[in-house]
Amino acid sequence: MGSDTFVIAGEELESRLILGTGGVTNHAVLEEAIRESGTALVTVALRRIDPAAPGTLLDVLEKAGVRILPNTAGCYTAAEAVKLAHLAREAFATSWIKLEVIGDEDTLLPDAVELVSAAQTLVDDGFTVLPYTTDDPVLARRLADVGCAAVMPLGAPIGSGMGIRNPYNIALIREAVSVPVILDAGIGTASDAALAMELGCDGVLLASAVTRAERPGEMAAAMRHAVIAGRLAYRAGRIARRLHATASSPVEGMPTW
């Protein structure tokens, strides 16, 4: 088997697991989750500074040696998301942005129209755009067409832990675009992450499944193994599904009585 590197916009990442920090209860837990997950890329949100905050999230991330992927969470329009992306680039000296433009606060599903508009603007402004999108293959293709460096379809709504509700669409998205496909949102447990990879996703982005697990460090380790296993299985080429059994032991040579 040849080398199997994970590359986004020309940058190689050492892990196909991208860890979100949403829901983490304290910095010690985050440190453990990062270490156990083996991730090389960690998301953050951008909010008003709190002078009273004990230590900073950035100190933890710098110590862990991971790359930062800022997001535009909380934005409901393209204009808001573009503004926040520019602030993120200024803050973190990275042109990478996880683009989120949310359509409603109940489902937190992406607003497709605003998303494509924001993606186009940010690509033109020189950003490496990683859009959080629905599991619609046509929308994914449109995002790739405007120059996004990857597409990040949801498996299920953010934080729902419902897994991958439409695996066929995720497989179709893999066929529809040539940029990396990263399953983002909906992962509940390790088998969901493995399934994403078996469907051909290039990576998995998850937060709540680890940060809100009873033992985040242990779940982070489970996710690390699941992503590796799923990727290996995808590349290995699974057997076809059959309705009827196929004997694995030889029929020939059976004794007669």
């Binding site: 949100a45 951008l46 002078p51 900073t56």
Partner: protein, 66 residues
């Protein structure tokens, strides 16, 4: 000089640059972004950018999310 910082009214004793205001709120230089009246202020211009009365300043940093 009265202005708004992160949505809250604030009175500053005298002429203040963006850099000085940031240093009052955090020891960090990296990982912080500033917008004044909705426009991003690049870090390289923080020291030279004087704040005016009535300005609305947003000072942002990384928090958990995503």
């Amino acid at each position: 000089m009265d202005l708004t910082v992160n949505g809250e009214h604030r009175t500053l004793s005298g002429p203040t640059s963006v850099a000085e205001l940031v240093s009052e709120l955090t020891h960090r230089q990296t990982g912080v972004a500033v917008a004044v009246n909705g426009e991003v202020v690049p870090r390289s211009t923080w020291a030279a950018r004087a704040l005016d009365p009535g300005d609305s300043v947003e000072i942002l940093t990384a928090v958990q999310g995503g």
